[in-house]
């Protein structure tokens, strides 16, 4: 994917990637740093807040403690039998102290099983009600507010409780024991404090939307908690038990020991992480907890980081645009160059093969000129140079191609002429059998053979090789053949005919061409064979199992020199004799190592074809040549003519 992108995009992305890492590191560092600092600050704040709130509650409780203790102290100086209007006294105290919602004095009876009156004054809807706690058989001496100070011999804060009489308010009672001069327990003075104000007070603490404060009693029971159903029902320990959270239990025990601290804490309401700062309220043995939710505390850092990221994103987009613009301006010439070179590539389909469009040839390839000396400019210059070279090369190639095509068409013409001149129909007769073969080389040579009946009793045979190649050679061959035919019609003398031919050819021979030529006239009745040879390879007579060259007769190349005489050879053919005529293409056929087939190879091949008819003979020799040269290219025409007398 990345590799397929343009340079501009790749560059832009790489730059952005690098910049992104750097920016990410900076943002990350600043986030964690800010978070760390804020965390510290929040923890401090939480701790201070917890302590300050605890102190605030403690202050109220201390005031109540002083009032109750003061009353108890003064009562201890009066004998139990004194006539004191306790109701008036208590009402006065309750009225003067808004923290106190009720107060009682309960004396211990000296007679077991009996109770003395216990005057109690309490607030009801802004006024004050009076009640004897001991009236109606109600046993006040079994409740904690009475028994605990009695047994512990010291003032106590009761565990908080719901006061069923006074509107189901959450209350806590401070009880001070009274002792006589001998230290014997005389009774208790109590002050009730409503805890309703606490809930309201704790709600005003600056601890955010999801933060909250809790108050737990000496036993770990919740006195104040935003979840009302926890109050007086659940304790830190019951929650720890229900949630299988031993850490919470240990935390509860720390608060019971009056410790101050701050711990990571999961909100019991939202389950989200935060901190719990806790501080004791020593007088009651309670503990105040302030829960700061982490998310909310961290919201500032988060929003700062979010802004930073947003800005970064905008910056990134701008950077991307700038980098893209720069990169594109750098790669613009490259793209032009690419476009120009790409047009080279455009191919057209011709007959299933793709051929390049003739752009280069027509010189349409325009390499844009790029100024400057940078890499792109140099590349462009190189391309221009390459284009020039290419153009030159193509021009040369075209010229060469034209020349080659001309030669090829010349050769084709020559081949056509050659093929049209040699006889291809071999007569089927009783008295002789004849068969010829011309296997032209790629560049057609000047080989030819011919045979015709000069009259019904005389068969003329000829085989020759014109010097050179191509059309002139072919034409020369045609002339030679025409003359030869004409002369033989007039005179069946081969030597004389050769002589005439020589003179005729020489006369018109401006290009100094010549031909080697063997010709023979066979009297079909007698078997007499007269022949003449103009510098050609001597034919082979195959008689019985033997094969031998025809005796040599004097004669030169035909067409070179005027007035040359040719000797005539004679021999008598017997029934079944065969004549094998050939050109130098046979003996000079070369294998890959330039070793010629030679007369030896030819004679061996002929020896192996003792009883073959003419067609078989030619085929056999041809096969033998092929077997010899193998893959070597045929350099000259291979021409053979075979004759058999009375087969």
């Amino acid at each position: 994917m990345f590799r397929k992108m343009g340079i501009a995009w790749r560059m832009a992305l790489l730059v952005l990637f690098g910049a992104g890492i750097i920016m990410g590191s900076i943002v990350g560092y600043s986030y964690f740093h800010a978070r760390g600092m804020l965390e510290e600050e929040i923890q401090q704040k939480a701790l201070y807040l917890a302590q300050a709130t605890a102190n605030r509650i403690e202050t109220v409780e201390n005031a109540v403690e002083k009032m109750a203790s003061g009353l108890a102290m003064s009562l201890e100086y009066y004998p139990a039998s004194s006539k004191i209007d306790f109701y008036r006294l208590l009402e006065h105290m309750v009225r003067e102290n808004p923290e106190i919602s009720g107060s009682a004095v309960a004396f211990a009876s000296k007679k077991a099983g009996t109770l003395l009156p216990a005057p109690y004054v309490y607030r009801v809807d802004g006024s004050f009600a009076r009640k004897d706690l001991g009236a109606g058989g109600y046993r006040y001496d079994i409740w904690d507010w009475y028994t605990l100070p009695k047994e512990l011999k010291k003032p106590i804060w009761s565990e908080p409780y719901f006061d069923e009489g006074g509107g189901n308010m959450l209350m806590v009672t401070y009880s001070v024991p009274l002792f006589d001069s001998k230290g014997l327990f005389e009774g208790v003075v109590t002050c009730d404090v409503s805890l309703e104000w606490l809930t309201g007070f704790l709600r005003t603490l600056p601890i955010g939307k999801t933060g909250y404060a809790t108050l737990t009693s000496r036993n770990g029971t919740y006195i104040a908690h935003p979840r009302r159903e926890f109050i007086m029902r659940e304790s830190v320990f019951s929650l720890a038990e229900e949630r299988g959270n031993p850490a919470l239990r240990r935390l509860g025990q720390r608060t019971q020991r009056g410790e101050t601290g701050i711990v990571p804490f999961e909100s019991l309401i939202t389950g989200k992480p935060g901190w719990l700062a806790f501080a004791p309220i020593p007088s009651t043995g309670w503990s105040l907890g302030v829960i700061f939710p982490r998310a909310e505390a961290m919201a500032k850092v988060m929003s700062f980081t979010r802004d930073e990221l947003l800005l970064g994103l905008v910056g990134f987009t701008l950077l991307l645009l700038v980098v893209l613009a720069i990169a594109r301006s750098i790669t613009q010439p490259l793209r032009q160059l690419d476009k120009a070179v790409r047009s080279l590539d455009m191919t057209v389909e011709v007959g299933g093969k793709s051929k390049p469009k003739q752009l280069l040839a027509t010189g349409n390839l325009e390499i844009p000129e790029i100024r400057g000396e940078d890499e792109v400019a140099r590349l462009s210059a190189s391309f221009a140079r390459m284009r020039r070279d290419l153009k030159e090369y193509i021009e040369k190639l075209q010229a060469a191609t034209v020349a080659r095509e001309r030669i090829e068409s010349d050769l084709r013409v020559a081949e056509t002429i050659q093929r049209s001149l040699i006889p291809k129909d071999f007569p089927k007769r009783e008295d002789f059998e004849i068969r010829g073969l011309l296997d032209p080389a790629r560049e057609v040579g000047g080989d030819f053979y011919d045979f015709f009946l000069a009259d019904p009793e005389h068969l003329c045979l000829a085989i020759g090789d014109v010097s050179g190649k191509g059309v002139p050679t072919a034409l020369f061959m045609a002339v030679t053949r025409t003359f030869l035919k004409a002369f033989f019609r007039e005179d069946k003398n081969p030597a004389a005919s050769l002589s005439r031919l020589n003179d005729e050819l020489e006369a018109e021979n401006d290009s100094n061409m010549f031909v080697t030529l063997f010709c023979a006239v066979i009297d079909l009745k007698t078997g007499e064979c007269r022949y003449a040879n103009g510098g050609h390879n001597p034919p082979v007579l195959l008689r019985g199992g033997s094969s031998e060259f025809l005796p040599k007769v004097r004669g030169a190349l035909v067409g070179c020199m005027k007035g040359i005489a040719f000797d005539e050879g004679r021999l008598m053919l017997k029934k079944g004799d065969r004549l094998f005529l050939y050109t130098d293409g046979v003996t000079e056929a070369m294998d890959k190592g330039d070793v010629p087939y030679g007369e030896t190879g030819m004679l061996e091949a002929l020896a192996g074809l003792e009883n073959a008819d003419c067609a078989e003979l030619l085929k056999g020799v041809r096969a033998s040549i092929k077997g010899f040269v193998k893959e070597a290219e045929q350099s000259d025409d291979i021409t053979m003519l075979a004759f058999r007398f009375f087969p």
């Binding site: 028994t147 512990l152 009761s158 565990e159 000496r218 036993n219 029902r233 830190v236 320990f237």
Partner: protein, 320 residues
């Protein structure tokens, strides 16, 4: 006309339905204490319709410290109540002729919990220590336990809370295994800080909650009494099979009565009390009865006694 016909049909349906409202006999049951898991079987029996199935319209009243169940039975405000064996014997002694219909809690949940840091590790260490105890018949097993082990602690009266113990005003206190002991744990005290004595392991395994009614109630309609006991025991069977559902039912009662307790505590209570209940064989053995009577007599808590056969109905007796 059509309306009258429908009313008539309704009346007929009431008359011939075997479990119809008309046929149900209204009875009341008063637990000894605030709604809590100790009474799960009765709440479940009511909630799942087991009483109805037995032809009773049973109301489970809200108990508590101000509602003495014996007084409720005596005054006729309730017909049935769960009582400790000692309570029932004590009441009989005071002239309230109670009769045991079924012994539900057959084993004792009473225990003594002591502070280890007050040097109490074994029974002997309790000597001369301040120990808070419930009064009267609830102290029977403890006093017997002290006497047998020849320890003489200083007894301090204990009432509804264990706060005196928690504030270390006493060295040890009485506790129900299913209630106060767990309250102490739920006040942040670790079991390692405590030495505990289970009275059932100290040969004072006195039976606890049995279902009681007045002799007169039983005489008047023994079938209803039997039905109430049977339905209650079915309730307990259901509790054992479906503890989570039972706990939900208990918590509903707890919430309705605004009892300051929590689910974790009720779960503990349910599991613990189930360990001492045998709803399949709800009988009071003759031997246990005799031993409890003897123990209470020795402590001067009983003057008169009644024969075993008079005290429990036939179904609540073990093999004679």
């Amino acid at each position: 006309m059509k309306k009258n016909f429908l009313s008539l049909l309704f009346l007929f349906s009431l008359l011939f339905s075997p479990e119809s409202a008309l046929a149900l006999k209204t009875v009341s049951f008063i637990p000894q204490w605030n709604p809590q898991a100790q009474f799960a079987g009765y709440y479940v029996a009511a909630e799942k319709g087991f009483y109805k199935k037995h032809g009773l319209d049973a109301k489970i009243l809200v108990g508590g410290p101000d509602h003495d169940p014996v007084q409720y039975l005596k005054s006729g405000k309730a017909q049935f109540a769960p009582l400790f064996l000692t309570t029932a014997l004590d009441s009989r002694d005071k002239g309230v002729p109670l009769i045991n219909l079924a012994q539900v809690v057959k084993s004792s949940n009473l225990m003594l919990v002591a502070w280890k840091d007050r040097k109490i590790e074994k029974i002997g260490d309790l000597d001369k220590k301040r120990v808070s105890l419930w009064g009267d018949w609830l102290s029977t097993a403890y006093l017997g336990f002290f006497r047998k082990n020849a320890v003489k602690p200083v007894a301090v009266p204990q009432f509804f809370t264990v706060n005196l113990f928690l504030r270390k005003g006493v060295d040890a206190c009485a506790a129900m295994h299913y209630n106060e002991f767990h309250q102490i744990l739920q006040a942040g005290v670790d079991p390692e800080e405590l030495t505990t004595f289970h009275l059932k392991n100290e040969q004072f395994d006195l039976p606890e909650d049995g279902i009681y009614c007045l002799e007169s109630t039983y005489r008047k309609s023994p079938a209803d009494c039997r039905a109430f006991a049977l339905a209650s025991l079915e309730g307990w069977t259901y509790v054992r099979q479906h503890p989570a559902e039972a706990l939900d039912i208990v918590m509903e009662r707890v919430k309705a009565a605004n009892v300051p307790t929590n689910r974790a505590h009720m779960k503990w209570m349910l599991e613990t009390i189930l360990g001492t209940i045998d709803e399949k064989e709800p009988t009071l053995s003759r031997r246990t009865y005799a031993e409890t009577v003897k123990l209470m007599k020795r402590q001067g808590l009983l003057n008169r006694t009644v024969p075993y056969e008079t005290f429990c109905v036939e179904e609540a007796r073990d093999v004679p």
